[in-house]
Symmetry: C2
Subunit: 223 residues, 2 copies
């Protein structure tokens, strides 16, 4: 019975996600669903990205949080449109909550809409928001076993960002094990190794995300 | 409608949790539900605890994981009873899954049963497993904003373990902000600052957890 309920919820979510995806495609907006554990660095990644690409792309952000608007407050200084969705205990965003807030954006004047999902590696991977693609963000401080333990996210994502590589020397993170596990799950997935606080690898990230936004490329990948 | 479904699920969970709690009380087993983000150090905490307290208490572990038995493999060398619950996509354990596996333990010969919940700060806080108490484990690498962003866990837990204090000098973790936010949510909660890899503060943890297991103390707190 609970399986049936779950199936209904996922079906309803999928229908609405398809609507969101069509709308965004018609407006040529690329929506990037960023998924990570709590504190892996989603907001700091967005801060660096706003600083570097703010003059190149018209960006917006949907902030998913249980409660508080702390992450949105951190991004306010970049003068981009930001909408906070407080899930009040819900452990992930869904396509219905995204559809509701899309009307608050001027989609005709937007290139990239980042969604900072609720900090959680599990349910956010299961719910299609209508995004153009998902990004998996993990930090070295979390250990090297995340791909093996949370395979769905690494199967679904278009790229993996390994953040906090500046902390690697102080942890027991084994890079070979991480890459080997990741390759078993998704051998094609690009891996970007970065430090959002120190700056390592961010140039590659800016290039990569800019490439995704080449319009013909990203719209064809929608279908 | 979804709220009603959620209420039914939580009610059913609570009834079974009450059964679990009665059973464990009758057997004088203290069950500790450990909740943290992925990679905050739950398994390493259990390794250190098995090493230090293995001769003092008869311990057992329930390992909650989406998939794989990696954490259980790490604990095998301590020769304690371990049962793995693979949730296959579920983002938390519930009282029904706990009730099912309790029969696999010899409860008459157990003092402490640790539950390593699925790595997630959200839903595990909402589902009573019938535990004696919850423990909140967070790492400095996750940032200082976790109490403010995930208040339910810090309201529900009997203690907070702040792990990876050896990494603090390399992060922007602000200890004063962390403590100030924590006090606003739960001013009475004990905070233990530890490093499971380097050993800092573990003596206080061993003393604290041993004190909780003084039988009259912990059983009276059940009711």
């Amino acid at each position: 019975m609970e399986i049936k309920i779950m199936k209904n919820i996922l079906d309803r979510n999928q229908n609405k996600a398809d609507e969101v995806r069509s709308l965004l495609a018609s407006k040529q907006v690329m929506m990037v669903n960023i998924i990570s554990s709590p504190g892996a660095g989603k907001t700091t990644l967005l801060e660096r990205t706003c600083e570097e690409l703010g003059s190149k792309f018209r960006m917006g952000v949907i902030e998913g949080d249980i409660t508080t608007d702390r992450d949105a407050q951190r991004l306010k200084k970049y003068n981009i449109p930001i909408v906070v969705i407080n899930t009040e205990g819900g452990c992930h965003l869904d396509s219905h909550s995204i559809a509701k807030v899309l009307g608050l954006f001027d989609l005709d004047n937007l290139d990239i809409l980042f969604v900072e999902n609720v900090g959680n590696l599990i349910c956010p991977s299961q719910f299609d928001l209508g995004e153009t693609f998902k990004l998996a963000l993990v930090s070295t401080a979390e250990g090297d076993d995340k791909p093996a333990k949370y395979p769905m996210l690494f199967r679904e994502a278009r790229a993996v960002l390994l953040n906090k590589i500046d902390l690697m020397p102080y942890t027991n993170f084994n890079r070979d094990n991480f890459i080997s596990d990741l390759n078993k799950i998704n051998s094609q997935i690009p891996l970007l190794e970065i430090s959002c606080t120190r700056g390592d690898g961010l140039k590659d990230w800016f290039t990569w995300i800019s490439d995704q936004n080449l319009k013909p490329n990203f719209t064809s990948s929608l279908l």
